[in-house]
């Protein structure tokens, strides 16, 4: 299955060009142009990795990150920042972002980070699956509790 990536930035042309480039690299890419739209999408659909701009009109990237972690704690987030300082990105890392990149970023570096973020998510999911399997084998009734 292709890695599902959600790209969130208010700079529409940036989002369109980058999404094309990621599609050429065989990613399943969706796009949002605001934080509010991204939160709505995250509630409805599953994504493996979200690439999120920090400074957006309305709901900013750090607020979107909080909501993502509330609804989809396993979804990995890479923050994009246009600021010369890394403070906003560090805030994001404290809130659970996987990594950050300064804009404009090198696409190959971004692709590498998406790959690593996906790996971490896959490993987390595998650990959860293994823990559940172990629990079900020792206590079969717990499978019903999980439903």
């Amino acid at each position: 299955m292709k890695t599902r990536v959600l790209l969130v930035d208010d700079e529409q042309q940036f989002v369109e060009q980058l999404s094309e480039r990621l599609k050429i690299r065989d990613y399943d890419v969706s796009v949002c142009f605001s934080g509010e739209e991204a939160v709505e999408n995250i509630r409805q659909y599953l994504y493996d990795v979200v690439i999120l701009d920090v400074a957006m009109p309305g709901m900013d990237g750090n607020e979107v990150l909080k909501r993502i972690k509330q609804h989809r704690p396993l979804t990995e987030v890479i923050m994009l920042t246009g600021h010369a300082t890394v403070e906003s990105a560090i805030d994001g890392m404290k809130q659970g972002a996987f990594d950050y990149l300064m804009k404009p970023c090198d696409t190959e570096e971004l692709v590498k980070k998406i790959h690593n973020a996906y790996q971490r998510k896959a490993e987390q999911e595998e650990r959860i699956r293994a823990a559940k399997t172990e629990r079900y084998s020792t206590s079969p009734w717990s499978a019903l509790e999980d439903k």
């Binding site: 042309q13 094309e20 009109p57 309305g58 246009g82 600021h83 404009p104």
Partner: protein
Amino acid sequence: MNQETEKTLAFFGRMTANLTHEFKNILAIIQESAGLMEDIMAISPLARDKYQERFNNSMNTIKNQLQRGMEMASRFNRFAHTPDHNSAELELGETMVHFCTLTERFARLKHITLQADSQKGQEIKITTNPLLLYMVLFYSLDACLSVLPAQCEIRLISAKKDENAAVKIACTGKQAPSPEQFFTGLRQSNAWGELENTAAQLNAELKCNTDDLCFYLILK
């Protein structure tokens, strides 16, 4: 460093950070567009026809962003020259347009529209301190942005008031606060204190309308 210099540097710092953020966005779009063209060129020649339109779109995007970047560089350059002279002749309406294009992003980040306007399109020439005028406009905008909710509009209108040149700062919006809440909020904001001090330095008078969301900056 004295307090005045610190204040001026802080103002320049905020303006520069804002504009360089816009430059970074432009560069990011150019980079991705050029990168997409490179990707398309690397695809097998047989598949290139399929991507011809995207290739052309990327080329146009680069041209548009270069234009956007050049306009922004010119505006930034003009702004950077504001401290050159303590006194210069300016056309007020044109100065409002220039200020609004420089600071539009601050408003956009709060989903607020910022617009320059002139009374009946009349030309108003003033001789003033350009740097202090920009600072006063900036603090006016900053104070309004701290009070207004999203979807409101701020208009900076160059006008004549009692024979003096003036800037009318008028705010509107369905969700806008009442005039009482608006002015209480303004006076409690940090920017309002800076505005009063800088307006005094500029020898400008602040006049508030109490029955709507508008105040005047009268340049004497």
